[in-house]
Assembly symmetry: C2
Amino acid sequence: MSEPHRAVASFAEVRALMRALPGPDLEAGTRAAQREAQLTKPAGALGRLEELVQWLSTWQARHPPVLARPRSCVFAGNHGVAARGVSAYPAAVTAQMVQNFIRGGAAVNQLCKTFDADLRVYEMALERPTRDFTSAPAMEEDECVRAMAYGMMAVEPGLDVLCLGEMGIGNTTSAAALCLALFGGAAGDWTGPGTGVAGAALDRKVAVVQAGVERHGFHLAGAGPADPLAVLCCVGGHELAAIAGAILAARLARTPVVLDGFACTAAAAVLFSLDRHALDHCVVAHVSAEPGHRRLLDRLGKAALLDLGMRLGEASGATLALALLRAAVACHCGMATFGEAGVSGKAG
Amino acid sequence: MSEPHRAVASFAEVRALMRALPGPDLEAGTRAAQREAQLTKPAGALGRLEELVQWLSTWQARHPPVLARPRSCVFAGNHGVAARGVSAYPAAVTAQMVQNFIRGGAAVNQLCKTFDADLRVYEMALERPTRDFTSAPAMEEDECVRAMAYGMMAVEPGLDVLCLGEMGIGNTTSAAALCLALFGGAAGDWTGPGTGVAGAALDRKVAVVQAGVERHGFHLAGAGPADPLAVLCCVGGHELAAIAGAILAARLARTPVVLDGFACTAAAAVLFSLDRHALDHCVVAHVSAEPGHRRLLDRLGKAALLDLGMRLGEASGATLALALLRAAVACHCGMATFGEAGVSGKAG
C-alpha cells in the first residue's frame, strides 16, 4: 500500500519529488460516497464528518478507511532569532519542553493517550539553533535539506494518519516571516502574540519579521515571487523544514496528514507555494488564536475543523482533531444502512 | 454530592423548582483556575478546553472534575403536526430509528462507543403523537408535566455529564414554533430544512409554524411575553418537554449538561425564558446546519463548541463534544506543572 519514502540530498531532489506527487484515489472516494448514502441518516446530516471519511478514503487509497495506526509527531528546533527578544519565554524552554514530552507531562501526551495515538518527538540539534535571520540566512541549503530529510523519516510505511506539530521558542516569528515572504502583505498581518508578547515586545517582533524578509530580498517591490525553498532556508527553522519534509513523505506514502496551528501550517505553505495541490492530502485541525493563522488558511483555501482559541502548538490541535476522525470513521463503518435497519427512506 | 431529583406533578411545582436552582460552586472553579495557571503551557493556550474544565468543576461542584460516568440520552416523541407534510420523512421513522438505536445501528451508538458514554433511549408513547398544534394545543398541562417528569427521571445521581438529544419526525417544526413564540421575529427566521425539505414544502413548513403560534395567541402585536411553559404545552412535544425536565433535574443533581442541536436547544430555551440563569450549567455542543440554531444561540448567549455542519440530532453533536470534555479533563488532570517539569516560566 505505501512505499518507503526516499531521502533527499538537495533542493533539486525535493523539486523532483514534488513533480511526482500521487493524486487522489477517486475510486475509493466513490465507494465511500456510495456507502455514506445508504446509512440511516438524512444525506449530509453528519456534515464535515462525512467529508472527513471521503478525504481519508481518497488519500489512504482504500475503503473503508482505517485508523488503527495514527501517529502524532512533534518536531522541536531552536531559532537564532529568539535572541532578539521575540518570545515571552527563554530559548531554554524548547529543550525543557522536549523533556516534558518524553516524561509524559505535556498537553500532547494527554491528548495522545485520550485518542490513542502514538507520539513521537523529534529533537533537532537544539544546541545548534538556526542563525538569526535578520543578519544571515537561517540555514544553508544542505542544512535545510537535512532537516527536510529528517522529517521524511518520521513517515514509516503503514501509518494511517499523521498529526504534525512543533515546539520551538521563536518559531511564530519564523512562521510570520515565511508567510510574509510567500504571500506578501504587511509584517503586522502575520505577526501575533505567540506565547504571549504584547505592546513594545510585539512591535519589536513585527520589526524583526520585516527586517528578516527585507534582508533576504523577498517580497520587494518589483521582485517576482520568491522561491519557496529559498524562503524556507532563509527565514525558516529546522522543525519547520522537517514538517515540510514529513508532509511530502506522507503524500508519497499515501498517509493523510492533520496539520496543527500557525507554525505548522506556515511550514506546509512552503509546499503549497511550490504546487497548489501539494496539501490536498492534508486537513487543518484547528484555527489558532494566533491571528495570522486565519489569514494563512484563507490563502491555502483550507477550512479548519475546530475553532477553540487554542495556541499551544506541539500537535495539540492536530491530536484533538483525531477525535473527529475517529468519530467519522466509527459512524461510517459502524452505522446500519436503511435496508439493514428497516428504516424508511425519504418520502416522495 | 448529588441529590435524587424530585418528580413534578404540575407547572406550579416546576416553577417552584426553578426558584430553587443551585448556583455555581465558585470555590471549585477557583481551584481549577489555580491548577490551570501552573500547567506547562502559556496561560490560556488551550483556549476553550480550559474554559470547559472551569465549567465542569464549577457545575460538578468539585475539583478535579471527573468524567467517569457520562451519559447520552435520546428522547423520542411523535408530533401530530408531522401529518401536515413538514418533514422529508414519514412519521413511522421515529419508531424505526428507536429500534435502530436499540440495535446499535445509529450514529449516536458509534459515537457513544468511541467516546465511552452510556446511551439511554427514551421512547415516549410513540403511538400517541402530540396533537397538531395548528388546530389544538399539542399537549395539555398534565401531559406536558408528565413528559417533563419523565425527562427528570433520566438523571440518576452520580452521572458526571449528561449529553441530551432527541428524535422525532416533525420536531424541527415544533422547535421553530417554540422559538417564534418565545423570542419573536418571523416564522421564516426559525424554520429551516430539518431532515431536508425545500421549495414549496419549506414554504408550507413556515406557514405551519406561523399558524401554530397565531392559533395559541403567542407573539401577537401588543401581547406581553408568552408564558414559556404554556408555549411548551401548546407547540412543543413530548421529547422536548422531557429534555427541559432533564436539564432542570441535572441542575438540581449538579450534573453538567451538553446540549445538542436546534430541537434540543429550543427545548432548553423554555427554561432560559423562565430564568436567564437556568442554562448556566449547560454548554452547547455544536451549531447545527439548521439555520435557526445560530440565531437561537445568539439569543441564549451561548457559543457552540463545534461548527461542523451537522444536523442529525439524536445527541450526535453532544456526544461528539464529549471528546472535547475528555481532552480538557485529561490535559488538566494529567499535565505536569512548571515546577514538576523543570520548565522555565514566562520571562520578565
